[in-house]
Symmetry: C2
């Protein structure tokens, strides 16, 4: 069943009496609306018509500088020429597709992986080679062999991966970056959630590991050489601030940023100047970090409520991941059970999720599904998991009887 | 010389002492900044977090309805399912490319034509078949023969075409629509400027002509059948309100809008909700029409000043179009003269334009160039045309001596 058919099925979740764990929406009740109002006011008073005129494709300069400074705090030393502002991470993925993928080109992805990337890259007729994820993120055992198939790039979501909620271990991060450098294969690192960590320590991005290795390898050479790393890092404001802005960014070697800018000219000329200026005005002076600290607590609580409720309400044969951050967790049912069938029953019981098969580029995931916990209030999570637990118990019983 | 090289050459126009007729910028000093400030304030107070959350790919419903009503006043009877909001007309072109064009597909365009469309469609490896424009727009004499080459679509800018400033005559509009219907070839009608008419009567869009013919042909059949027209109409707020929003729309058969929405999901999910809501709040209740009436007067004056100055300052062998509206006019030099060479001299004299070759998909236009009159103040236009006149006189003299 294709993901568009699943999308059709999930349309009912727009009904208000359905508790939906299907989306990937952040909690709108915590959006800093008043700060946005002040920022819009400031931008139109101070930048005036500049906010409404055409702008450069690369993006609003202060916002690009903001990204450079933010990444510098993580040890990534780049300059504005390494940053392109995009109309959301989905556009970043589309740009990557346009620049790298020709019909039949192979790309390595995790299995399961983000639906949006598949949607972008199928348009360019990519072929997906997938490596399974486990509790430590993408399993790299077969990576050495797989990379010899000459993929155009590897696509990795290192932190609290969408959909599986797992985090790539430090060992595997190093393995991936080393192999990418050895074989000259770019890494597309999609990292929308890293600041939403609820426990444990932040692990260095593939971008920063690549930069570190660059320093060792090229010691004595100029900073310019460092720029020729192989990591294309995708960031976004959608999960930490507000997705309705449609604002993301790419950090990559300057040459690639120039290619991206040229491609973006043909795609939408540039991202709304008004939106970029307002967003900059909102995030500056440490506001974003303060705001994230708040929503982190909210999501941590929701994750815990969902995990506790699942322990209580789900049959014992059902397994799930325990995400260290982000918005999603991943449920695995016994192999005989199909999550799409369960979804139909769940919708009858007024609760919804996304079946696992939607996240598999090359088939599979039929007995799995994704749950989102950021967009339902605590009491809805309790109630929804209770409903889902009943559906699962009943369906597993039926399935067992049919064996 | 490729258009990217021309772009490189034109980078100097960012210097403030250059009078540039090269861009396509509207006059920023007339943007309704205060109305935008009130609108942003209203949106964040009243829609609150909805303005910052994910939205539907098809667009903000009231804005789609606004488009339906606006087009209804021109006799085009469609519904919201015929409208998709895009991140500017450039994205509309990119969507058209993604849906229609496979490698080597032919499309018919005017010669010269809009640079942005070439930039989008070259990414999909389109082949351009071109028909020349004259004072009455695209010359349709050879259209019957050309259309037999089975193009994927025809691309037409009917009103004050960018770059040539010419307007498609009523006869030719009818010919184009008839042939498109006869051979089943879609028309992509790009119409950013129609409300900026400075003289003469509004001519019906290809979309409305197609709809009229539909009514005759399908009389007695349901309204549904009318929906299967062949015109994909592209509109934008960039020239009438503010380009920095990046806001456009497509009006097309409902089936095609669904295809576009699916493609757009993979491109940027949706256009910023905040921007859509603010724009709707700005344009509603007749404000847009009032505002356009004002800028129309401004641009009419600038066009007249430029035309008068050209008559005074340009050598008599130089010819140009007299646009009935829009932002551009088109200059033709004697055939022996190359406008790119002239541009280099012009830049030395602190004035700039875009050489004609940039607008030719398949070569030509070497002795032509485009002038924009919307983004320079009256005294700058006088001064710039004087400078350009001197350069032209000197260059034409040199060219004549070299024969």
């Amino acid at each position: 069943m294709g993901s568009s058919a699943i999308r059709e099925l999930l349309k009912v979740t727009e009904q208000t009496d359905i508790i939906s764990f299907a989306g990937g929406f952040p909690a709108a009740e915590y959006f800093p609306v008043e700060r946005f109002r002040e920022a819009s006011d400031y931008v139109l008073k101070n930048y005036s018509s500049r906010a409404l005129q055409y702008g450069t494709t690369e993006g609003f300069q202060p916002l690009r500088e903001y990204m450079v400074n933010k990444m510098a705090k993580l040890g990534v030393k780049r300059s504005v020429e390494n940053v392109l502002i995009t109309s959301g991470s989905q556009q970043s993925l589309d740009l990557v597709g346009r620049i790298f993928i020709n019909k039949g080109d192979r790309i390595i992805t995790e299995r399961p992986t983000f639906i949006g990337s598949m949607q972008s890259w199928r348009a360019y007729q990519a072929e997906f080679i997938t490596l399974p994820v486990d509790e430590e993120g993408m399993n790299t055992e077969a990576l050495d062999e797989t990379i010899k198939l000459k993929p155009k790039f590897m696509y990795i979501l290192p932190n609290y991966q969408n959909p599986a909620g797992v985090t790539l271990s430090m060992d595997r991060r190093q393995t991936i970056v080393k192999l990418a450098r050895q074989y000259g294969i770019p890494i597309v690192e999609d990292d929308p959630y890293w600041e939403l960590r609820y426990e444990g320590e932040h692990l260095p991005s593939l971008l920063s590991l690549d930069e570190e290795m660059g320093r060792v390898r090229f010691s004595g050479e100029s900073a310019r050489d460092l720029d020729h790393g192989k990591v294309i890092y995708l960031g976004t404001f959608s999960k930490t601030l507000a997705p309705g802005l449609r604002l993301g960014w790419i950090m990559a070697p300057a040459e690639l940023i120039r290619d991206c800018a040229l491609a973006k000219q043909g795609m939408d000329l540039h991202t709304s100047m008004f939106v970029q200026m307002v967003a900059y005005q909102v995030v500056k002076d440490g506001f974003l970090e303060e705001h994230i600290a708040q929503v982190r607590e909210v999501y941590r609580e929701r994750r815990d409520i969902m995990l506790n409720a699942m322990s209580r309400e789900f049959p014992s044969v059902v397994k799930w991941t325990r995400p260290q951050g982000g918005l999603f967790l991943w449920v695995t049912l016994p192999e005989m059970v199909n999550s799409l069938g369960i979804l139909r029953k769940a919708i009858e019981s007024k609760v919804a999720f996304v079946p696992g098969s939607a996240f598999y580029p090359d088939g599979g995931g039929d007995n799995e599904f994704r749950l989102n916990y950021s967009n339902a209030k605590p009491e809805q999570i309790e109630q929804g998991i209770k409903r889902l637990g009943k559906v699962l118990a009943s369906e597993l019983e039926t399935a067992a009887l049919n064996i």
